[in-house]
Structure formats: C-alpha cells, structure tokens
Symmetry: C2
Subunit: 167 residues, 2 copies
Amino acid sequence: MTEEQEVFHQHIQRAGLKRTAQRDLILEVFLRTEEHLSSEDLYRLVQREDPAIGQTTVYRTLKLLTDAGLAREVRFGDGRTRYEHNYKHPHHDHMICTECGKTIEFFSADLEKLQDKIAARHKFEITNHTLRMFGYCADCRSKDARRDRESSAAEPRVRFASAPGTS
Amino acid sequence: MTEEQEVFHQHIQRAGLKRTAQRDLILEVFLRTEEHLSSEDLYRLVQREDPAIGQTTVYRTLKLLTDAGLAREVRFGDGRTRYEHNYKHPHHDHMICTECGKTIEFFSADLEKLQDKIAARHKFEITNHTLRMFGYCADCRSKDARRDRESSAAEPRVRFASAPGTS
DNA sequence: TTGATTGCAAAGCATTTGCATGCTA
DNA sequence: TAGCATGCAAATGCTTTGCAATCAA
C-alpha cells in the first residue's frame, strides 16, 4: 500500500465513508499518471480496466481525492477542470503552450515573496493563488522559426492574435 | 462620440459588419459600469433600457467588444465569464476576496519583470498571463477579527478550508 | 438588394443530482 | 442491517448554434 493509498483510506474512515473497488481503482489509475487529467481523461483510462465504472463515479471520486488532499484542481481555460497530484507535490505555477498544449510547472520563491509583499500593501491575506502564463514553449518556438525560414515567407506566420483560453 | 465608440465603429467597418441600435446600447451600458460584469449582469442592465433585447445578442456583442479590444474576459472561478474594460486600461492582475467577492486590481512592474525572467529560463515566450490571488480583503479581515473578539470564542472562527473557485 | 443581425428555441458541454439498486462496515 | 456508494437518466447552468424574420449599407 502506497502512502497515498493510506492517506486516502484514512480520509475515508475519518469521514465515515466506505472503501470500494471503484474508488481504489480510480485512485490507482490517477496515481499512475503524471499528467493533468480531466475527469473525462481519467474515466477513459479507468474504463479500460473496468468497463462497468460510471462517469459519475469518477467525478465524485476526483472530488473525494481533492478533499483528501491527494489531488488539486487546475483549470487552463479550455472549460474543463483538470486534476494534478497534490500529495507531497508542493505548490507551483504553470506555463501553458497555446500551440501544443504542453504545460511546464515551475516554482519561484522570489515570486512568492513578491506576491506576499504586494498583498501586504493592500492588507490582503492570501490563502492561495494561481499564476498562469500562456505563450509558446521552446519546442514550438523553434518549430515555428524553422517553418518560417523554410517557407521563406516575407512575413512571419500569423499566430493566434490572442491566446485562447486566458480564462 | 467617445473614443471607445469610435474604436468600436472602426472595428465594425473594417470587419464588414453592421452598426445596430442593440450593439450601440450594449456598448454604452458596458462603458457606464466599472464592474466585472457577466453576460447575465449586462443583459439585465441593458434590458432596463430596451426590454426587447435578447440574451444571445449580449453574448455575441461581448465577444465583438473583445475582438475590438474594448473588453477583456476574466474568470474568477465561479464558472461564469466576466468582462472588464480593456481600452486604455492596461494590464493588471487581481486579488479576489473569497468572503465578500470584492476584487482588487493591481499592477507590479517587478512582478512582470520577474515573470519574464522565469519564462526566459524555460525558453518560454509569454503572450499573456493571469495571476489571481484568493483570500481575504482588508474589510473582511477586520470584520472577522471583530467577530472573533466579540464572540470571545476559544478558537478563531473557521474559514473556508480551501478557497472555492481556485479555477 | 444582399448579406449581416436579431431573438427565439433548441442544442451543446461539463458537471451535478435524483433515485432505485447494490454493497461495505 | 443501516446507510453509504453506484450508475443511469434527467436536470442544471452557462454558452453557442440553427433558423426565419428583420434591418443596415
């Protein structure tokens, strides 16, 4: 039994809930992936191992995992909620490539400190925050540069006028 | 005619669209408010002046205003898209009070610089970003403190374990 | 005149809820 | 056994789309 599974079962007991095969499977599959999964994504993966499982159960279990501190909601602006690991996976922010969809996680102590300073100026007490930077990752930038060169276009290829999903 | 209205009409002409009474009214009402309005909010306000106007038209016009550079979408995690002024209203970020819903706009050049530095480290090209800090505004903090004192509770009042809508 | 615009109703999505059945503790 | 959990279908809330009628250019 992994640490995460122990945390989960403790949470279930403390809350007077029940351990079920579905919940165990959903947690297991969730732990196996390192992506930012939507409920739908996870549902598909879980279905491969138990086709009888319902979409609703995945939704409900993801909420449960969040309550247990094992998952954390993240939204990148495409309208669907995604989940990332939260257990022993400290706070960080995201860069989201609007071309290929890749996300880069990063943490900067300086950034956190600066935010605290700004909040203090406004007598604001931060409980949490989200910083999302939208743009182009290194791969897409070099691909774009290559494409521009090869097409020898007079003017560079037009990119999204405004990044979609700046939610 | 305000500058914003000129921008709007220019955008409409350039795009081969048409000027209508509904669009003019929606823009006018939008400009009169300084809030972060949802489509629904704006619809209600507009209806007071022209009850015949449809919800759909407001949705569509808000998109149009965004394309014209007059409005900007913001999302605070309550599931609905809000719009703020974008014309000569430079980039800024938000602090959102999870108790009273108030938002504080702020801008920090240091913060922007630091973000650029971090992005550069990852060879990431930022097109735009959103930083949202959730927590308690000055008013709510002092109200809470007063309440705690008056109720003379042994332990301070429990607040949201995790801020809702960290979308 | 012609194609864009409007408003209604219907459709779309992601997510939630009601409920009868099934299963843990 | 009691009450939580499950899965289906239906409902929800926000937003978009189809379409016939209307209107600006």
